[in-house]
Amino acid sequence: MFVVYVFRGVLIHSTLGCLTICSLSCTVSSIPCWQLKQVREENRKVVENYTSERTMRKKYYNMVEDMKGKIRVFCRIRPMSRTEAAQGGAIAVGRLDDYSVTVETSRGPREFQFDRVFSGESSQEDVFQDTNRLIQSAIDGFNVCIFAYGQTGSGKTFTMVGDRDQRSPGIMPRAFNAVFDILQENATKFDFKVSVYMLELYNDRLQDLFVSGAEAQSRRVEIKRNRKGLVFAQGAETKEASSAGELFAMFQQACANRHNAATKMNVESSRSHLIIGIMVESRNLTNGSVSFGKLSLVDLAGSERAAKTGAKDDQLKEANSINKSLSALGDVISALSSDLPHIPYRNSKLTQIMQDSLGGNAKTLMVVNVSPSDCNLDETLTSLIYATRVKTITNIAQRNLESKEIAQLKEVIMKLRSGQPVEDEEV
């Protein structure tokens, strides 16, 4: 579906672009000065109209997509860092308007469309403003997932958590407040219960962040879904929270445990993801109906070792000389045909977890973080497309074969036409 965004955007762009060029070429043939001036004025208007129309169209398109409940993608370009500026790196990524980004690639500029684009000047409030609605959805009983994605150093943690001393808090602490603000507003109509678990996914292993030390090591946590659709972390501790402050304290404790766990393991910690699940159970005070909603907040680890392990899609994955593993073989086989009946090959726990939040009719927001001087969008797109492979509703309905039923009906029609009597059950 990502491709569609990009494609549609380009399509709109090119048709309107043509118009502009046509009117520009007219100017060449016109001679008198006043005419030239008039045409220039017209051109300026056309360009202006084009720009505003382009923006409008994208906006409406995004609104429609939103109503459909599909995943939405924001892109946030962080400001140039001091080191980058010192190295004299040029800016290769720029924000065109609220919905598009251009990237200078070796093969020329490329444009990407997003549901929203934030530049270096956008504040944490700006970014959060658009995520607020999703929190309402979680309270309304939806499965909502917000996560940040991008290279290490591109600003994911700043977006999700905020700076170290919380002078500009990110989405997570703001969401804690927002949840309780909304609950407060509805306190007369609903009875709420908020509970939370906090996990770390590390080396394909889930770690409960509410327990520390040896106990955390021995505990086995798994993410599952029940038939009511609720995602739950089996084996993880779930704590109740009665205020935003309490939630934030738990969050700080979890962060402390996360840090400990990472240093103790003494291996590369770049594969550590933070996963927070906030469950809201609400009971309607007037009719007693109960609904469950869940807000998942995920800070994904970066991939600074990607180059080394060959994470780029078209790179050859090397054989692991140590454990005989030819790990990419599964990838290759899965790619042989787009319609393998069953794919037993599952990349990792992370894909499993993310697939749950991307598929179905969950409401998902992804913030792609990019540094202005580099870009990993291709990789992002590939993994997204993988995660959102759409399945058809039913094969049977898609087939356009002449079925028994159609043959029967044709017979009925023939009889009706020729005025023959048709038995009731044959019509």
Partner: protein
Amino acid sequence: MDTTLSTPTTGPRLSHTEITNMASTYSHEWRAVCDKFNNAQDLSEVESRKDPENDPFRSKYKARELLREIYCSLKNFDVGENESVNDEADQRPTEQPVDGGMEESFGRGHCGDSPAGSRAAKLGAVEYYLGVNHVETEELSAGEEHLMNCMTLLEKCSISPENVSLFIQVRNQLGILWAGRDEIEKAQGFLETAEAMYIRYMKEDGQPPMDLTEFFVAEEEALPQQERTKRFEMAYTHTLYYLAQVYKNLEQYEKAGGYCHSTLQRQLEFNQFLPLEWAINAATLSQYYITKTLYMEGRHCLSAASVIADLAGEVPSEAAAQESEAEAEKRDQLRQKRAEIARCWIKYCLNLLQDAKKLLEDNIGELDMDRQAELRATRLKEEEEKERGRKSAVLFGSSDTFDSICGLEEKVSCVFPVDFEEARAIFLVGQTYVNQAKEYFEMDGHVTDHIEILQDHSALFKALAFFEEDLERRCKMHKRRVDMMEPICKDLNAQYYLLVCRQLQFELAETYYEMMDLKLAVANKQDDLDAHTVKKFNHLCSSSTKFYQMFLDSVRSPEGKWPEKLEDEVLRPALVAKFRVARLHSRLISSSKTIQLENLNRSLECYNFVVQYCKDNPEAKSAIETELELSEEMVSLLPLKINRLQANLASSN
């Protein structure tokens, strides 16, 4: 070297003390080189994994330094050695032009195992290790330079057991390097040459060649033949593994599939695999063969997958899993992977049945006797012999697994079933795997997977029913489908499992429809439509309607509004559902004319909906051409019947 020096008949005569001195200096220096090399290997392979985050290549850089030192020592003292020992050999390279032609190198230059050739190979090996080191530390251009230096050194040599491994491995590395730079064709060139070199070496020489590490060990530490073979074959397996990826990236999927298959074959043959990983890969490959209707290959992959997965060991008991985290992890892994393989078997059985059905059905989906006879005929002997030829090319197995793989294969056919007995045999195998898969993918915790397996089970029944001639028994099979899906459909939260719910609703509606048709056919055969049958018929009819209606309701907005425009993925299903509901309403049997009239009016309403929707959205027409055409006819014809019925009703009143 030592033996040459101590033989007084070759080379200039030296006094005994001189010989001992030289030998000891030499062996002393040589030992230092070997030690350095071992150190470098250890740093690069073992130490480097413990390097800190902020200095990730510390050990690699240390290893690089050692390799550089080795290179210098080799350059210095080896030249001296060679000159004093054998002048002849050093003459040869100067006469030879440097030739880049890969094939040429077989018969040209230094004899691979001459001292000069050996020296070139040694230097080449160091260049190789330096190249790999630079690539691993993300210095690609420097890495490329070293690897190309290795290529140049090798160009002067003919292929010999001493250097063939280096010939192949340097090309493997260059293949990886160029693929990383998006120059897939260039990578392909290196790897295909490596492949050709292996094939030619095995044809012309074939003795276990020396491993790269053996360039830097004392003679007495040479690897045993078996180990040499293992390492050499591993290098070639990697060539094939990289070629599989290259062809995938070039979108030559058939070729990529072939290389995946060969890679798996060789992993097994040389015992270089992780059982679970291998088994899952083989099972995935089976799914590819199924899409190509290559059932013999698919079955072979699956049998091998099952057998090899069993090599991964016993599933730890639940009690053991509660005791330790490692056992719990192992238990989960083994159970999950085996269940995944079972699911691949289900798809195998299901697709085999469905593909046979497609071959055998007539234009209204019933078994066609002529086609049945035809398929029987084509399945005669010659066909089977052809398969045997195909089979020898794809066989998996080491000596100890081969029999078990064949044994498993014999349990299920790989040819299209032509009659009920054959279809049933395949169905039963599929059903066994359904039960096996469900043991791990339980409803609680694996909702989506569990339901997918149930849907497959239902599809197995559906395909089997096609082969069943007895209508009553066919109807019972459909009843089994209803029984497994209906409770789940009611239980599932439609908000989170929208897609699954829709699929189940649609399938249930269709199954009831099928049962209704079968009930009527049975009654017609017996020529008796008693009150009980009518009741049953009407019940099936309304059940079908109910599930179509549930499906249609899921398309509405939360406020219950029908969308002005249907989304692509529900467009055809939704209009088909409307069309069927129209049909179902008019098929309800009632003796009351008022109710008949009511039903017909509802039917007309639905036909009208389809026609009107396509009028408002002309782009929808192509999606349901046939149904639209029929709906249009019904919209024009039904009112006549309704009028007649109305008149009838009025006159009888």
